[in-house]
Amino acid sequence: MQDSLLIKLAVVILFLPLIGFIVTVFFGKSVKKVYVFENLVLIASFILASILLYGKLNYYIDTDLFSEFEWINLGEVPLLGLISIKLGLMLDNVAAIMIWTVMLISLVVHIFSIDYMKGDIRYNHYFAYLGLFTFSMSGIVLTHNILMMYIFWELVGLSSYLLIGFWFEKKSASDAAKKAFIVNRIGDIGMFIGILLLFITYQTFSFDSIFIQLADGKLPFNSEFWLTATGLLIFCGAIGKSAQFPLHVWLPDAMEGPTPVSALIHAATMVAAGVYLVVRVFGMLTGDALLIIAVFGALSALIPATIALTQNDIKKVLAYSTVSQLGYMIMALGVGAYTFAFFHLITHAFFKACLFLGSGSVIHNMHHEQDITRMGGLRKKMPLTYAAFLISSLAISGVPLTSGFLSKDGILAGTYAFASLTGHWLFPLVGFFVAMLTAFYMFRLIILTFHGEPYDKEKYEHAHESKFAMAMPLVVLSILSIFFWYTPNPIDPGEGWVLSKWIKTPEIFTPVETRYDFMKPDENAAVDHSSAVVYSSSYTEAMHNAHYPAMFLSLIVAGLGILLAFLFYQWKRIDPDKLANKFKPLYNLSYNKWYFDEIYDATFVAGTLMLSKFLGWFDLKVIDGIVDGSAAVTKGFSKFSGMFDNIVVDGLVNFIAILSGFVGLIFRKMQTGKVQTYIVMVIFGLVILLFLFKSF
């Protein structure tokens, strides 16, 4: 297998969904069955992605493949020399695994949607949008270039807009779509400025050549501060797209879209793009930048987890848990646990997609009922969904033998090791606390939905297990949530092939003095540059030491969370309502999502609208008023001069006219109408002229 072939394969994978989109959107109206084409395209790209993954991991496991072409050539630019902007693909292990994940989840969502969306008036368009999304997401994954990433970044935003607002007849849906796009844009502006900084520093957008120049010591404005700032600005994009605090508000609203879409975009893939972006630029982030990123991650892990505790909408709970889990990943990246962050990204993608599709299955069969307090007892009616949901919940809670346990434990160990090396003990604290909360709210969800007595008998009676097309994806995804796909040893992820061979911590390119202490190369190891281990041995040691304490602690907190959930809701030993009344302010804070929407509405949105209203008024009244005023003054003046003209000047003219009329009356007599008389007069005139001009 040749590397050029792999790249070509990647190109095909990238563009197949676009073809699917174009065909489906144009023939969506005329050809009823065109959605089949889109599904076939997705199957094809999934197969190709599998081949790609196999080829990459088997033959090129340690080489990154590149391919690029010139997109824009600005020629010989004065002062800067030749500038051209290139686009292209990069295929490393991370990208290969990610593209496979994206394609797999996209495929199962497609298949799930065939039944779920049946009967919708824009059925074909729905699949077209899914194709567009898959295309843009693949672009983000495969790019080697930050401008191209931004391009696909925005395209993903577009497809997300289209899909969230798919049922745009509902005002809440179109509101949510608008909100998602605009909130994402806020983050994107930061990212865009970061890109601008990178470009004016390095005159290129490609990751590799930026890294090479960075390793040579070229910094933005020659200052480490600006390198940190650039990293953080790029991270702004991730804040927006991965719905991190404080821009997380769009994601719960985005649940207005069809549930499979939530599974694909707002749980598994698109929101992961932010994490993926940080993964990509990890090599240029300084210690300070990483620390701030970790803080944002920790906050995003904590706040939505507390909100998820009290939500009653099944999809909202899952949405907040998504934000929380993404916060985990970001935090993990911030503390340097790169491999575990990416690992969690993959495992999370599977089990969260499974959870969402499971909730979709429930919602579908409960006739679009989303309130978990109105469900209950569905375990008997929908055993398969229940099983899948349970496995995924165990995974997200971090129970052993699941994939989630492996990755989450790694992240917690990473924070633990980080704390032991640097003394920031708040990170592991938050990590473990959130792990408990996660276990609690996930099992609250399961118990309220599947256990206990049905709330609405009639709906309960009509509920039934989903058909094959909807059940199959759940099975596939839940099987992928079990440990043995990733490692033979269910308690130590480090022994698995994913972490030992496939994903490695990348080289760090930032100047040594700006890194975390543990990321500085050891003096004795510095000789061996080719080694993939870029952290100092102290980190390896700390990580090793952290492994078992972290694992036990996480087991304990997960168990505690599950136990609490059972106590509250299954066995009803503690009345949640009483507790809620007791801690009314806290409950309200959580129930109302910490009032983020209200605060933003009252400040930024209202402020902008008021400013715009004011400026609209200002423009109409003041600026245009000045224009009209000057026109009025001119007009007044012209009126005056008009009067002057009428009375004085025109009076004079009229007087002359009257005078000449009078004279004319006299001379009228001379107008005989006979030519000859006129000639006589001419002659007299000539004589007079001759007399006047006589020169003698």
């Binding site: 006589v680 001759l690 007399f691 006589k694």
Partner: protein, 162 residues
């Protein structure tokens, strides 16, 4: 006073007098005949000025053409048999005064002006030179005149027929 001068005065008197009669006589037919003499006189003047060809043309066209035409005009517009061929005059006094003054000034201007004169000795026959000029330098004008005449011919016919 040489013979040249004498001939000049002769022709000048003939021209002037007959012109005077043209404009003063009441009978149109007489006026036409006096006009004939005027043309003759002018032709003589032309000869004196060395323009023999022009003089002949003057005779042929004016006398042979225009004058006959005018006579026809008289005949056609005055029914000879019934109506007198005499014509009235009008505003003689102001016209006489005006024209007199005008003529005086004109003559004064013409005589008091210092004309830069070069007495060129022209060859006796001018026909050949005129012919060459007409067909070479002034060919376009010549052609245009031809067209003009044609147009005048057609125009006159069409106007008269209307």
């Amino acid at each position: 006073m040489n013979i040249y001068d004498a001939i000049f005065y002769l022709f000048a008197v003939v021209t002037g007098l007959s012109a005077f009669f043209v404009v003063t006589t009441r009978n149109i037919v007489y006026a036409a005949f006096f006009l004939l003499f005027t043309f003759f006189g002018v032709a003589g003047i032309y000869v004196l000025l060395g323009a023999d060809f022009i003089a002949i043309v003057q005779l042929i066209i004016y006398v042979g053409g225009i004058l006959i035409l005018l006579l026809f005009g008289v005949m056609l517009t005055n029914k000879i048999t019934s109506v007198q061929i005499k014509t009235g005059t009008l505003q003689i006094v102001p016209a006489a005064v005006g024209v007199g003054l005008f003529a005086g000034f004109l003559i004064a201007v013409l005589t008091y002006t210092e004309w830069k004169t070069v007495d060129t000795a022209l060859p006796l026959t001018t026909t050949e030179f005129l012919g060459v000029m007409l067909l070479q330098e002034y060919l376009v004008v010549f052609e245009l005149l031809g067209i003009l005449l044609l147009i005048a011919l057609i125009g006159a016919a069409s106007i008269a027929r209307r």
